[in-house]
């Protein structure tokens, strides 16, 4: 079983939602579509499901053209960001409905509903109505209904976004195991790089209706094809430092000279963007070879057990992600440390020139 899209465009009115999307998904694969809001993730899923027709392009399922085939005739299951269940049916009837419609025998329906409910830990709730459940349980019901029918294409559109942090973590771990055990194509959209990394599998990075890059998740993370991919695939977005390479030195922000060594060795002269992820910037020296950058504090944002310190370095904003809670006086000058080996080098126009070497874990 393989599913592919070729040269798919979606244009509504004057608005381009998708532009020339070509992708192939293999059965048994887990695929994450990563992109910010309005990147076209939902549009893509809806087209894959057959809920919307592409303006241009083709959808192929096992070599057969399924473009424009009604969703009722396709083998698709979908989970929405909102908790969508049939409010008038009990949880049991909700999960059973796709099976009953397919004309399955009663005993078999019962067996599969209970099995799926057990997998998602909602067995004690089977007789309740969706309105009597918490948000997490409602989404579990929706996921159970999608899983129960063994569709060849399982689409999940940011299923965990409306849940609170704790529930999200919990369900994410469970989903990962459930997906692994299936041989259908799982497509999961998210805006969060961390979620994409946790789910693993393959990734499709989207931005403004285009596919920027696709491939195995870890590979894309370590080798983003362009600065845009790196920006979408880091949270906070990757820091950009405008750099000029001249005479064996890289001038970070055009002021701080760093010798070209390690993976920077032999970089041709010219203008580059050096990218570095926020978790590779530190407030304290980690290593004797760290480069020291002096910057002005704009904002210290405490996020759970981490602090994001927004600074301005030579007119450009940087974000430092630091474990623990740190207070820095706004407007004060602080020192930030970074290893040159953590730099991603992008061409001034965007494409990746060099990526840092991956260290053995």
């Amino acid at each position: 079983m393989a599913f592919s899209l070729s040269n798919v465009d979606k244009i509504v009115g004057k608005e381009t939602y998708l532009k020339n999307v070509s992708l192939t998904f293999e059965s048994g694969s887990q695929n994450v579509i990563l992109g910010r809001t309005l990147a076209g993730k939902t549009t893509l899923l809806r087209i894959m499901a057959g809920l919307d027709k592409p303006t241009k392009g083709k959808l192929m399922e096992n070599g057969a053209d399924v473009t424009g085939v009604s969703v009722r005739k396709r083998s698709v299951a979908m989970v929405y960001q909102q908790f969508v269940n049939y409010p008038s049916l009990s949880v049991y009837a909700n999960i059973a409905s796709p099976l009953r419609l397919a004309g399955m025998a009663k005993a078999e329906v019962d067996r599969r509903v209970r099995e799926t409910a057990a997998m998602l830990h909602i067995e004690p709730l089977l007789n309740r109505l969706p309105a009597e459940l918490s948000g997490g349980q409602q989404q579990r019901t929706a996921i159970a209904r999608a899983l129960v029918k063994d569709a060849q294409l399982l689409l999940l559109d940011e299923p965990l976004v409306n849940l609170d942090y704790k529930l999200r973590e919990e369900l994410r771990v469970e989903l990962q195991q459930i997906f692994k055990a299936r041989d259908s194509i799982v497509v999961y959209t998210t805006t969060e790089p961390t979620e994409a990394l946790m789910l693993g599998g393959n990734i499709v990075v989207m931005h403004e209706g285009r596919v920027l890059q696709s491939g195995p998740t870890a590979e894309v993370y370590h080798n983003p094809a362009s600065i845009s991919v790196a920006a979408v695939f880091s949270d906070p977005p990757i820091n950009r430092i405008e750099t000029r390479v001249k005479g064996g030195f890289a001038e970070l922000g055009r002021i701080l000279s760093v010798p070209l060594d390690g993976h920077l060795t032999g970089l041709p002269e010219g203008d580059y963007i050096f990218g570095v992820r926020s978790n590779h910037l530190f407030l304290n020296r980690q290593h004797e070879r760290d480069i020291k950058i002096t910057a002005k504090v704009e904002l210290a944002e405490i996020n759970g057990s981490e602090t994001f310190i927004h600074v301005i370095y030579n007119g450009a904003p940087l974000v430092v992600q630091e474990e623990g809670i740190h207070q820095r006086k706004l407007g004060s000058e602080i020192d930030i440390y970074v290893r040159a080996r953590k730099f991603y080098i992008f061409d001034a126009k965007g494409p990746l020139v060099r990526a840092p070497r991956i260290e053995a874990a």
Partner: protein, 267 residues
């Protein structure tokens, strides 16, 4: 107990609101002589005679039966026409949909008297004159647009994803509509039915003009009962009370959803 200004104002308001109704009920239990002769807050000679008269005299009670018949017909027709229309307006976008939706509402902006002549002439020609269905159809003129508007509001409150999930699960459209969708807008259907009932029940002009004998509504009967012995005040009062009863009963069932209905389902 101290009553402040606000409560006093409210009580006064209620008093004036209920006064005519009280007077009507009061009259319906009196004899004509007492109504015309004395001022009494409670009937001096309490009597059920007026009500008995209405329930035994065919010229009275057929009026009720006629009214109930065409109101029921109208409610059923309006709902069955408006349900698919409202679904269309709520779920699909097509050329001119907004204009058409508004045009529906403009049907309520013209006084029924405007349509009186065409209806009258037309029904005469096609032989529908003085039938229940004639009045029911005429009342669709203002009830169908209203029903479409109210139902559309309720339907748009149901997320579209529910429709889509149903289609993904393999529901056929009719099955989805009747087993999943209708239960979700139950309250809306109840409110719509109530409004159709109410407008059709109180409408006098069309109902009176389009009927003569066989389908004469109660409101028309009431305006035409002047006997040789003069006005039957007590009978009229009793008829008035009985005319209010169905409304009260129906309101009881939809009392919790009324406000949403008046806002055409958009809250």
């Amino acid at each position: 107990m101290r009553i402040n200004l606000r409560q006093a104002a409210l009580l006064a308001y209620l008093f004036f609101l209920l006064l005519p109704i009280y007077w009507l009920v009061n009259m319906s239990f009196k004899e004509t002589d007492e109504i015309l002769g004395v001022f009494s807050l409670l009937p001096e000679h309490f009597t059920w005679a007026n009500y008995k008269m209405i329930f035994t005299d065919p010229s009275w009670y057929t009026g009720y039966i006629n009214s109930i018949k065409y109101v029921a017909m109208n409610t059923v027709i309006s709902l069955s026409v408006a349900l698919p229309a409202a679904y269309g307006f709520s779920r699909f976008s097509f050329m001119g949909d907004k204009h058409m939706f508004f045009w529906l509402l403009t049907n309520r902006m013209s006084p029924p008297a405007v349509f009186l002549l065409p209806f009258f002439q037309f029904y005469q020609t096609v032989g529908l004159f003085d039938t229940h269905i004639a009045v029911a159809l005429a009342h669709c003129l203002f009830n169908v647009p209203l029903a479409v508007w109210i139902l559309e509001g309720f339907m748009s409150g149901v997320p579209r994803e529910i429709d889509e999930t149903a289609f993904i699960d393999g529901y056929s459209f009719p099955r989805f509509f009747f087993t999943i969708f209708i239960p979700l807008i139950r309250a809306g259907i109840g409110v719509t039915a109530f409004f159709c009932f109410m407008f059709s029940w109180v409408e006098l002009l069309l109902a009176r003009t389009l009927t003569t004998v066989n389908a004469k509504p109660i409101a028309a009967v009431m305006t035409r009962t002047i006997s040789a012995a003069g006005m039957d005040w007590g009978g009229l009062a009793a008829a008035g009370v009985l005319t209010m009863v169905p409304g009260v009963i129906v309101i009881w069932f939809v009392r919790n959803y009324m406000a949403k209905g008046f806002a055409l389902g958009r809250v």
